[in-house]
């Protein structure tokens, strides 16, 4: 199981646009790529973690991603409601990105509160869908399912439970005569008793 903070860490690698307020002519070379040059007033792409750090130092303005508007999110929500399956979202980390941007750069995002509500609605809808699929999966005793377009955070919400549940079910399903552990297997191997099986103790 992953901690939500770890998934957020992955989300921080997503690319976002910022408008810097400083000048830095050369590229900055990072393990995850090279970014720059930074020119005051000109937008450029950087990973979210860079954007957040710069924003905290008040050296840039973050541009909200395209999908992060109330209208676009409402559209997604309707689409999600209409579809039986999971719809593909513009990013795998919609919840985390919203959370991070609204915490650090809420002034840069118009209608922050409405966006937050819309994202939460989307999340709730998808999680409810996911839970009922998991429930159906267990109920019908299926062995295979394919769920496309789930995001890591969503998968993580069933990750601790799902494998355990399947393990438990498998334990219950195991063939009636199979033995559950060593102690018992040594018992069942004694099913054909003869005095020779005890000769070891002599």
């Amino acid at each position: 199981m992953m901690h939500p903070a770890e998934i957020e860490f992955l989300a921080e690698n997503e690319i976002i646009q910022i408008v810097p307020t400083f000048n830095h002519a050369s590229h900055v070379h990072l393990i995850c790529g090279s970014y720059g040059p930074f020119r005051a007033g000109l937008p450029l792409n950087v990973p979210i973690w860079v954007a957040l750090n710069l924003r905290q130092k008040k050296t840039c303005r973050i541009l909200a991603p395209d999908w992060m508007t109330v209208d676009k999110l409402q559209e997604r929500l309707e689409e999600e409601k209409a579809s039986k399956f999971f719809t593909q979202l513009p990013t795998n980390y919609y919840l985390e990105i919203t959370q991070m941007l609204l915490t650090v750069a809420s002034e840069d995002i118009p209608q922050g509160n409405d966006i937050k509500t819309a994202v939460k609605d989307l999340w709730d809808l998808r999680i409810a869908k996911l839970r009922s699929s998991v429930d159906l999966f267990v109920k019908e005793g299926r062995v295979q399912a394919s769920l496309n377009h789930l995001t890591p955070m969503e998968i993580n919400s069933v990750r601790p439970v799902f494998p355990d549940t399947l393990d438990a079910l498998m334990t219950l399903h195991e063939h009636i005569n199979s033995s559950d552990d060593r102690e018992d297997s040594s018992q069942s191997s004694g099913a054909t008793p003869s005095s020779t099986s005890f000769s070891l103790s002599l």
Binding site: A5, F9, E183, S195, S201, L202
Partner: protein, 193 residues
Amino acid sequence: MYCDKVIELLKELERSREDTIPPYNNDGINQVLSEMKTLDAEIIDFLRKQKDNLPLDAIRLRRAAIERNKRCLMTYIWTRLQRLKEMRWEIGAILPSDVRQNLSQSEIEWFNNYCKTLVSYMKTIGSDTGLNLTQDTKPPKSLYTEVRSLVDAGKLELESGEVLILRKNSQYMLSRSQAEPLIRQGILEQVRQ
């Protein structure tokens, strides 16, 4: 009935919370061991006395009881070791005194060896200084963090060589790596932003 004693031992473990270790029950273990010994002697006795017409059920039962006693004893030790191991990661190398006094001699030995092995393994990661695996179990957000001291903890030597005196309710700016273990031990608390 056979194995009742060893089940008592396991119940002792079950009753205790998962993040504690109850006192090592040496007496209980010795009683179980002597039960095993008696059972074994009885089996041998049967086999010596009666060449034919062995009381198979009685022998099988004793054998099963010995196996079960063994399994339960090992489970007792194993479960305790698992808890001890978790403590190393949760709390660090220094155990609270009342945990320590609940351990047997071999458990203390094991714990010390575990710490040593852990440290020497961590030294081998990376090029020179190694990597402390117990640190940053969650992704860090910043290099420095503001903390508040919850107790009069006394002197703390910083990585820079400076010495800081931690007083109750005072706030400090510390490097995350230095603050984390102290926060985990409950000496400091991170100031919420």
